[in-house]
Amino acid sequence: MWTRKGTILLASGVSLILIGMMISNFQFIIIGLTFIAFLSINGWVDGHSELEINRELSAYNVYKGDKIMVDLTISNKSYKRTQQIEIFDNVPHEMKLHSGINKMKINLGPGQSTKISYYVRCPLRGYYTIGPVSVRYRNVFNLFVNESKIDSRSDVTVFPQVRDIEEALLKSDVPNMYTGATTLKTPGPGMEFYSLREYVPGDSFRSINWKAFARTGELMVNEKTRDAVTDVFIFLDTRDVARIGTVLKNSLEMGTIAAASVASHFLKRRDSVALVTYGSKMDYLGPETGDKQNFKILSNLAAVSASGSMPLQAVTNALTSRISRGSPVFIISSLEGDGTTLPAIRSLAGRGHEVIVLSPSSIDLERLVSRIPRLSYEVLKLERQNRLTAISGYGAKVIDWMPDIELSQALMQVKGS
């Protein structure tokens, strides 16, 4: 493609030749011819993008706020010089360059290679793709430009931040209800011996009881008692209203951090954790323990986005049969725009579940982006307080989570009935 300069040079060249011919002026003709000759000869040289690109990342799964180092190795495997080309590694706009830069002007000879190294910070959770690599050939004199893309992509998952809430839970009312809960005498992943059973294909060799094998002549495996003391259910509100606030600070972002932190805390204690997200549709991740479950929960949380308006009661009704008896339930929601919140919580509390409502204050989040008149703010705040008081009246523990308060601090202000 011709650049503006190239086009101007061509137009000037042709015009000067024509004007020179009209007024018989050889200076004009020769300047015009020189411009055209300059363009023609520059046309002989062309850049190319037959490059081998190899991108390496310091991590493919990171937590929100973490940094990733990107190393992009560019090699010219062809027999031609690349000429002056600009390499630009496409970084999603949600990621911020921390140090270094994702572009370089290069001119690689045959067989030569170079490396671009830069760091990106990931301030927003989600699934992102770094790449493809844009290659822009620019003629040395900026007469022609040609853009192409090399399809080299690297996927990155940014999990929500996991905050340490252990101390907060120790100091608050929340953990008291779980300590000493009944051990589930069922086989599952754990430490304590449960029973012996026959080997079936797929069982780990490490679990084979070799003494029993020597004694009986048949392969036997050890079964362990499931370590989890209980199942914890986390309900995360991902409805459209959850986007109230700024990009970095809104109900959904606060909720994902809370869900990830709570899940991580209980999974560390070898409890089973289930995650339910509801917005445009309901996603249910059944109760499991271990690192794998932690990864699944974090992955699910990385993918959630605010949309839809599914009522909480529809979710609790659908899951009634699946929620283990007596399991504690965390509801993380701003409680805005859902008339079914009260009956849903009443129903859960009625079935004997310990319900903890962690509610990011959407009115205060709204204030971060728009000006709310003082009187309106007071009224809205009062309405919210009434709603929270009503919920705590049904036996739920309610946390009014202000945007400027850390999760651990918020958890310490658990208010019960």
């Binding site: 020189t34 000759a37 040289v45 270094g100 001119n107 045959p110």
Partner: protein, 393 residues
């Protein structure tokens, strides 16, 4: 004993103060500066200069010199009042190229001060601009106010109308600058563009040169000069016999070609320095110290230098061949002897006149442009380069 581990710093970085001393950047800037100065000299030669003989004849009667020079207007100005700028800096009293030396020194001094000012902080730049404005305002208004108030002190209250003349006393200085500017404006802007790194000023200088050439061409066009003759030296309407470079080019064509090639060198090498420095400036601090970025910067800038030399040389050669292409065509037709058509073509004057020359030159340019599809230049050069590298290693 404490071990002090020092991180190895690269010997060169991409910081502006270092890059401005880099030989490649300096080469671009010096090349551009020399081209600019040579353009001025060549144009003075080509479009006529004010000879001593002319000045001797014209002294006291005419201040018009049909040439690309500035002293005649300044001489006229110096007769009405003493110039503020010293005569040696204006070039008064000198003739030919020596009259250019004073104004050139002035242009260089202005460029150095301006470039130096650009390296200082924005606040200082603003203060200097304000200071210059205040001095200028005082220079214009102070004599007027002084004359008016002192007159009122002796003669009593009066309207300031009769003192308005003193408001125009600095006008002489501005006129000196205007007369100098006619010839030296492109030189000053060109120098400021090259050393002050301004694309706008570079293109402005290029545009000014083309404008001068254009105005000269129009004023020397037969139809115009017939009605309104300024005595300007017109370029010959025929390109002349090719007697240079083994019969490839005529002396006139060579002179004209030199000006157009110098214009290209001036613009392209000036822009090259700016482009590369701009790129280096756009890099973050960590990349400026990154050895890979430094290596590639050197790669890019070296190849730019090679391109400039090779492509400008080829452009000159291609233009020379294009201007001679009509002769080749006529000779080619001449080979086919015997036919009436070939005889007619050989004797055709049109082919050797402006139209024929331009059309044949354009045809040649088409052939040159099409060569990119015939010869794989880059693959060829790349293969050679690869083998040279292999041999070296």
């Amino acid at each position: 004993m404490m071990d002090i581990v020092q991180k190895e710093k690269p010997r060169e970085t991409l910081h502006l103060p270092l890059l401005r001393k880099k030989w490649q950047i300096l080469t671009f800037q010096i090349l551009s500066t020399f081209s600019l100065l040579i353009i001025m000299i060549r144009m003075n030669n080509l479009y006529g200069s004010c000879t001593d003989e002319f000045i001797l004849l014209a002294e006291g009667s005419s201040y018009w010199c049909p040439a690309y020079e500035h002293t005649r207007g300044l001489v006229w100005l110096s007769n009405t009042h003493d110039p503020l700028i010293p005569n040696f800096l204006l070039g008064i009293g000198q003739s030919g190229l020596s009259s250019f030396s004073g104004p050139l020194i002035l242009c260089i001094m202005v460029t150095i001060s301006w470039s130096y000012m650009l390296t200082k902080g924005q606040k200082l730049q603003n203060n200097i601009k304000k200071g210059v404005g205040v001095v200028l305002a005082l220079w214009i208004f102070l004599p007027f106010l002084f004359a008016w108030i002192s007159s009122m002190a002796f003669n009593g209250p009066e309207w300031p109308l009769k003192h308005f003349g003193s408001l125009f006393s600095p006008m002489g200085f501005f006129l000196e600058l205007v007369f100098l500017g006619v010839v030296f404006a492109p030189i000053l802007t060109g120098l400021m563009g090259i050393w002050g790194l301004s694309r706008r000023l570079l293109t402005w200088a290029m545009g000014y040169f083309l404008l001068v050439i254009g105005i000269h061409a129009i004023l020397t066009f037969e139809e115009i000069s017939g009605a309104f003759d300024l005595g300007l030296l017109a370029l010959p309407s025929q390109i002349g016999e090719s007697s240079m470079m083994g019969g490839l080019i005529s002396p006139l064509a060579f002179d004209l070609l030199v000006i157009s090639i110098l214009l290209l060198i001036f613009l392209e090498s000036g822009l090259a320095a700016i482009t590369h420095l701009e790129y280096a400036m756009s890099l973050p601090e960590s990349s400026k110290n990154d050895i890979e970025y430094i290596k590639q910067f050197n790669n890019v800038i070296n190849s730019h230098l090679v391109h400039l030399v090779v492509i400008i040389s080829l452009t000159s050669f291609a233009t020379i061949l294009a201007l001679q292409f009509d002769d080749l065509l006529v000779s080619f037709v001449g080979i086919m002897q015997g036919s009436q058509w070939s005889g007619q073509v050989q004797e055709s004057l049109e082919l050797q006149m402006t139209y024929g020359k331009v059309i044949s030159a354009s045809l040649f340019m088409l052939v040159v442009a099409g060569l990119r599809y015939v010869i794989p230049w880059q693959r060829l050069i790349g293969y050679i380069e690869l083998n040279i590298n292999n041999l070296r290693s």
